[in-house]
């Protein structure tokens, strides 16, 4: 061999730009496994051989047929593969005997009598086999048998079910979704044991191949809504679905609105309730958050507790939350405009006290409030991101700086600290984090407007915000429904939480196929006089 030949061979081998495996597979899309295991194994070895967890295990099925098991060792349950699968394959079943089996018989014996795993199927397209490998399945190739046998052996480490971190409830279920899609579907199915619960799986993401489950209840959810959800999902062509948030950002209606138009939840019981109302729940593999569409504004301040408690308690708690929500939006703006523009509105004694507190503060009220608000936001964000070990120290420092020291230094007036604190607490009372953030951002806008034009500016800001909310739609559902457009059935569940027997219909804005959720007679039974079974004077006797 001349030097020249060596050099050319070297350059030929180290092709600077080899195609990535998925494109090679795409080239061989229509190729099928011919039954020649050596060619196929070397094809796969060429593609996946670089990986450290790639396993090719040569075996002899029933001691007679040359075969090979392919899998990725970290994706499969290794104990199961080596014990149950390998043992079963090596020893022939008793009735097979010692004679040679015909090819179709061999396949039948293997799939139906030998392998005892839940899911087994055969496929002969190389591309499908490769996809199965990356899902965590084991592929069995037998020499001469022109089909690969795929055995689902996937076993990925996962976290156990814990209490949802972002949505606490006093009274209600304690389990939350986890990252694994299968577990999440199980949590839903366990709560909705009806054949009408449909779970449609599809794969999104060119590289991540993320499984996405669209869940709905047949006979309740409007088919047009379901179609729209599927269409919007199908339109997503992206390299990877990192989180349910990725999907949310693609399927929402208005991308520039501060308000969330898709609800997310960690709670299976919440998802169940929303499914029962006729919404669609989207579960994404790898995220503990389910997406719920369509979403209206009132959903973001409702909690599961409202429904678990009795109606009076539920309504009162919800009212408190609405007050907190409004507080977190307008309180600093109102303070600034009353102090700087219309001090005549508040009683004189109080106005004097406020002026006294502000005597040493060098800034106008709006600057003072903005500085305090910004530092409060910084403190909030820092507490969120910090490792838990130092969190306590930070909050003490923060409280001292923002509370006591700022006032003592003549940097802010005591009443400003009160206002800022009330606002922040108010925004924490909103159960949905993303809706609370929206209102917190808008609070700054309102405060600045208040600094420029006083109450007039606040009013203009509020009109702009409400007009924006009125023009928002989530999958065609007006964002402020059922308040506007008015729907009496729905209003029973916005400001108050009406007794369950008083809300016999599903929310009308979702246009459910079957609007009734309460049996006809239930209401009559509940409105009857209760029978005094254990009356002290005249107890009811059993007949």
């Amino acid at each position: 061999m001349t030097i020249w030949q060596r050099l050319t061979r070297f350059t030929a081998r180290s092709n600077p730009n080899p195609l990535p495996p998925d494109q090679v597979l795409a080239q061989h899309q229509d190729d099928s496994y011919s039954g020649d295991i050596h060619a196929t194994v070397s094809f796969f070895q060429h593609l996946f051989g670089v990986n450290g967890d790639w396993v090719i295990r040569h075996i002899r099925v029933f001691g007679r047929y040359e075969a090979v098991l392919l899998y990725f060792s970290n994706l499969v349950n290794r104990a199961l593969v080596s014990e149950s699968l390998m043992q079963a394959l090596l020893r022939p079943p008793e009735h097979v005997g010692t004679g040679k089996l015909a090819k179709p018989d061999l396949r039948r014996v293997l799939m139906e009598e030998t392998v005892y795993y839940g899911e087994v199927y055969s496929d002969n397209r190389l591309m499908r086999l490769a996809e199965a490998l990356f899902r965590g399945d084991t592929v069995l190739l037998v020499d001469g048998l022109p089909e690969g046998i795929v055995i689902s052996t996937r076993d990925v480490e996962h976290r156990s079910i814990t209490q949802p971190m972002t949505e606490q409830s006093i009274r209600g279920a304690r389990d939350g979704f986890v990252e694994l899609l299968a577990t999440n579907i199980a949590l839903l199915r366990y709560r909705l044991q009806t054949p009408n619960l449909r779970v449609k799986l599809q794969t999104l993401g060119q590289l991540t191949k993320t499984k996405v489950a669209v869940c709905y209840i047949e006979g309740v959810t409007n088919p047009a809504l379901l179609q729209e959800v599927e269409d919007r999902l199908a339109a997503i062509n992206i390299d990877g679905i990192i989180d349910a948030g990725t999907i949310e950002q693609f399927i929402e209606d208005n991308h520039w609105s501060p308000f969330p138009q898709v609800q997310n939840s960690e709670r299976p019981d919440k998802c169940m309730a929303q499914l029962l109302e006729g919404r669609v729940v989207i579960l994404t593999d790898g995220t503990p958050f389910a997406l719920i569409v369509p979403a209206v504004f009132s959903q973001f301040y409702q909690t599961m507790d409202d429904y678990a408690e009795r109606p009076l308690m539920g309504s009162l708690i919800r009212l408190v939350r609405i007050v907190a929500l409004i507080f977190s939006l307008v309180f600093p703006a109102l303070y600034v405009s009353v102090i700087s523009f219309n001090p005549e509105l508040i009683p004189t004694m109080f106005a004097v006290a406020v002026a006294g507190g502000r005597a040493g503060v060098p800034f106008p009220a709006v600057i003072e409030v903005l500085i305090m608000e910004v530092s409060m936001e910084v403190l909030r964000e820092a507490t969120l991101r910090l490792p838990q070990q130092v969190g306590g120290a930070l909050s003490i420092v923060g409280v001292l700086v923002i509370g006591q020291a700022a006032v003592a230094a003549g940097f802010a007036s005591p009443i400003t600290v009160v206002v800022v604190a009330l606002t922040t607490i108010g925004s924490f009372a909103t159960p949905a984090y993303n809706a609370a953030i929206a209102l917190r951002i808008l609070r700054f806008l309102l405060t600045i407007l208040a600094g420029i034009w006083g109450l007039y500016g606040v009013m203009l800001g509020l009109i702009l915000i409400s007009h924006h909310m009125l023009s928002l739609r989530s999958f065609g559902v007006p964002y402020l429904s059922p308040l506007v457009p008015g729907d009496w059935e729905g209003i029973k569940d916005t400001f108050m939480r009406a007794p369950l027997w008083w809300m016999p219909k599903r929310p009308r804005q979702l246009k459910p196929v079957n609007p009734e959720r309460l049996g006809r007679e239930t209401m009559n039974v509940f409105l009857q006089q209760p029978s005094h079974t254990l009356d002290p004077v005249r107890p009811r006797k059993l007949e």
Partner: protein, 371 residues
């Protein structure tokens, strides 16, 4: 046309549109107009004006119901011919652009005079106009939702102030009912001025085609007129009863003064006038929103453009320039009164003409002609 795709407006929403359009900045000066025209007979003048306004609104609604899926721009061309109708539409557009700008200017003056004393009037005016322009970009269903949503924020403070003020009323002040030395000519002029305050209701011509059931449009018109009239009448009655007719004539915005004299029970807020004025921003905004959207939509249909969104922006400088034309508050009010009465010829006369011609030519529109 956008309105055709959203045939979702209910009777209640249509009423809400009309009520919140009718109640606007005009209410602030209304008792003065009434007292100037008929002194103690102010309520009577108001009633007369409201009857005229009701007739006008009924005409607009009836001609709209005759062509339930078209706006006045479209059926006008069918009824009286292409070019005469275009002239009519162009006049309407000019008139409503002027009405919008004067409303914005008037409220800008109110704000500058009573709360933001150091702000130039141009700023308060253009802010309101920008709000109306931005909002007018939305579609017809949002338009109806917005009016329905804001309705309580208009009616509650409106009726609240009047009812709270009633305890200061001296009912002798509004007697004799017919007015001291009633002067028929000035009463008629006053009635026309007050009727002119209700011209925003012309927006009904764009609401009818977007309604779910256009045949119930007249019902919503009448209901709206009843509610708005109640507020108008009570305001005039209470203001004159509290201040007396002669004092009312001297007040620039008597309703605002009425708010000044009232106090909320409970001693939480010391004075109500600033708060009332701020809440009234909503009422003014809804009226502006209606007339601005009306102008933009009429212009869109006249020009044959598919979308009205850009027009909303392009209209803004013109409307602002018109708003800045009056030199001072006196000239502005003279312009409002004069323009209002001229406008009545247009907003009552044009639909009346269309209705008569349509009846004579036996023309009417199909409910689902182009669905």
């Amino acid at each position: 046309m956008v309105a055709r795709r959203f045939q979702t407006v209910t009777v209640m929403e249509a009423s809400a549109v009309l009520i919140s359009t009718l109640i606007g900045v005009g209410v602030l000066a209304l008792p003065r107009f009434a007292a100037e025209a008929g002194n103690t007979g102010g309520p009577l003048v108001t009633l007369l004006g409201l009857v005229i306004a009701l007739v006008g609104l009924a005409l607009v609604t009836m001609v709209g119901m005759r062509f339930p899926r078209e706006s006045i721009v479209q059926y006008g061309e069918r009824v009286i011919g292409r070019w005469p109708a275009r002239v009519g539409t162009a006049l309407l557009i000019l008139y409503f652009a002027a009405l919008t700008s004067l409303t914005a200017r008037e409220f800008g003056m109110v704000v500058v005079t009573s709360v933001l004393e150091r702000t130039p009037v141009a700023i308060t005016t253009i802010v309101m106009l920008v709000m109306a322009a931005v909002s007018s970009r939305s579609n017809m269903s949002t338009f109806a939702y917005a009016h329905l949503f804001y309705l309580p924020f208009i009616l509650i403070p409106g009726f609240g102030i009047v009812l709270l003020a009633m305890k200061n009323a001296t009912w002798l002040n509004v007697q004799p009912w017919l007015g001291n030395n009633p002067h028929p000519m000035s009463m008629a002029t006053g009635a026309l001025t007050i009727a002119a305050l209700c011209q925003g209701s012309f927006v009904m011509t764009f609401v009818v085609p977007a309604m779910r059931e256009p045949r119930r449009a007249l019902r919503s018109s009448v209901w709206a007129m009843v509610v708005a009239s109640a507020l108008y009448l009570l305001t005039v009655l209470t203001t004159i009863a509290v201040f007396g007719a002669e004092a009312t004539k001297l007040l620039l915005w008597p309703t605002l003064e009425l708010a000044k004299t009232t106090m909320l029970p409970g001693q939480v807020l010391e004075r109500l006038d600033a708060l009332f004025l701020i809440v009234w921003v909503t009422a003014v905004f809804t009226s502006l929103y209606s007339t601005y959207a009306l102008t933009a939509r009429a212009l869109q249909e006249l020009s044959g453009l598919r979308d009205h969104k850009l027009l909303c922006v392009f209209l803004l400088p013109y409307v602002f320039v018109i708003a800045m034309l009056p030199r001072d508050i006196l000239q502005m009010y003279r312009a409002i009164e004069w323009l209002g009465r001229i406008g009545l010829v247009l907003t009552v006369g044009y639909p009346l003409l269309l209705l008569i011609v349509a009846v004579c030519r036996k023309q009417r529109g199909e409910l689902d002609a182009e669905a």
